[in-house]
């Protein structure tokens, strides 16, 4: 049923997506520099949120590890950006995220509920302090300089990562592995007894989601020029995707995209107007969202759409 629906909607959806992609791709040619910089940070949040949702959305395993995977990408850049070409650095950043997630996933994806949440968050702190200790005691240098890259280049690389991520997410959702992930979220034990190798599937999807976070981290490092472990492993990066995905609508393909875009824009807006209270305002928005829009922004829009279009919806 879902597949038939997706196919019949495809021509319109594809055209619309292509249009948005063209607008985004040509943007640096005519838009002001500020818009490009703003869109860069929006894209960064979208990538982290969509890749977080790829795993945590269907399975219900709430991972607070994004900061670890993003951070390992940032740190890869800090170590290698001076000696290797940029595309290679980004590739290694993604690979580092992938490998770390593979290891962590294999060890911890047997944990459920709060234990998994705690462990993933602990991982961020563990990496931060381990690298800090390493730098102080072994390498002897704390903080590194990353060569800056033109704003438009950063933007384009993020746009490419974003496009690949959306494609991956779309294909995954419509494949048998998408159904399998959902069944794990619904009833993991029963899923295993239907022939799904639950541990392997969880670990691989967890690692693929981390690949995109690592790649995004590697390119974003060039925006900050100076990197130390506290900048690389910022715990906020772990919480933001959870909030953004829930806000946008965790069950929908576009929910995390819209949630992240909205939040990233609001953050930019609030941080300039209310630098001291912006987190507070964030919190209030979040509370309202959870109380009144359990299916997120996209869920709310769909509900309103259905109400206004009435019976016509039943036909499609």
């Amino acid at each position: 049923m879902d597949i038939i629906k997706a196919v019949s909607k495809k021509p319109f959806e594809l055209g619309f997506l292509l249009f948005i992609l063209i607008v985004l791709a040509t943007l640096p040619l005519y838009a002001p520099e500020y818009a490009v910089v703003l869109l860069t940070s929006i894209l960064m949040y979208i990538i982290i949120t969509v890749s977080w949702t790829m795993f945590s959305g269907p399975t219900g395993y709430i991972s607070l590890a994004p900061a670890a995977f993003f951070g390992i990408g940032v740190y890869t850049s800090a170590l290698l950006a001076l000696v290797l070409p940029l595309p290679v650095v980004i590739g290694i950043g993604g690979l580092a995220g992938f490998c770390l997630a593979l290891l962590v996933g294999a060890l911890t994806l047997r944990l459920r509920g709060i234990y998994f949440v705690m462990f993933t968050f602990g991982l961020v702190e563990l990496l931060l302090h381990f690298i800090l200790w390493w730098e102080v005691n072994i390498s002897g240098t704390t903080g590194r300089v990353v060569p800056t890259v033109a704003n438009a280049t950063v933007y384009y690389i993020l746009l490419i990562i974003f496009s690949l991520l959306m494609l991956t997410t779309y294909l995954l959702r419509n494949s048998k592995f998408g159904i399998a992930l959902q069944s794990i979220g619904e009833f993991e034990e029963a899923a295993a007894h239907r022939g799904i190798n639950v541990n392997v599937l969880k670990t691989i999807i967890f690692a693929i989601s981390a690949l995109f976070m690592g790649a995004a981290g590697a390119i974003m490092a060039t925006r900050w020029t100076y990197i130390d472990p506290k900048i690389a492993f910022n715990p906020l990066i772990s919480f933001m995707p959870v909030l953004m995905a829930i806000f946008g609508g965790i069950r929908y393909l576009y929910g995390p995209v819209i949630g992240a875009a909205f939040f990233a824009y609001v953050e930019e807006f609030l941080i300039t107007r209310f630098p001291y209270h912006y987190m507070l305002i964030f919190g209030v928005i979040m509370l309202v969202a959870i109380l009144y829009m359990p299916d997120g922004l996209v869920g709310l829009i769909q509900k309103l759409w259905k109400r206004t279009s009435g019976e016509t919806d039943a036909v499609t």
Binding site: I179, E186, A191, R194, G195
Partner: protein, 245 residues
Amino acid sequence: MRLLEGQGVTKYFGGLAAVFEVDFHVDPGEVFGLIGPNGAGKTTLFNLISAALTPKSGAIKFKGKNITGLKPHQICRMGVARTFQTVKIFANMSVLDNVALGALFGASARLSSADAERQATALLEFVGLSTQKAAPAKDLTLANQKRLEVAGALATQPELLLLDEIMAGLNPAEVAQAMELVARIRDRGITIIMIEHVMKAIMSVCDRIMVLHHGQKIADGTPQEIANSKTVIKVYLGEKADAGS
């Protein structure tokens, strides 16, 4: 060759022997009943066969191959499917996807999603749920959820199906339908082990029955032999004097 064989299967929960030194065997094409009072170890034995639990000692063989120590998904792909005492369906997924999942992952042959969907549709027809294909599984009645679970298990193309109390909580009409369903599954050539408390059902549909009590096998044989067994009557009804007859 035996389809399934257990030798000295033992499982402890703490100090309690939930299943103790149980030997059993199931032949191809049989309907094998598993009965016993609450806490006798019936579901534990199912969990051991389907690898939800690993036995402390003893061995379980499927088609002559030792399957102890394998993972649940491996057991499933070898051809042993199960249902659960408390229905475990994927509540927010459609009825069709619930069944298609088994065809996509549990069957030994690799199926395309179109083939899996076709098979799932046929199985929903078989259990009588074809009109509710698109509904989310949570919207079904308990009787239909149990049938959905059976269809999902059948989608993995099992040779052996373990049914854990599929008749519990059903009304008499639904029990009759479930009995008929079991017979039709057997007619497809699938061997069945069923745990059941509905005695009428188990006596009429099973070829052989094994009785567990406190984790130990106390009897096995044809329904007739079990119904006349003194030990079984004692376990179920107590001593003659206690039963007040």
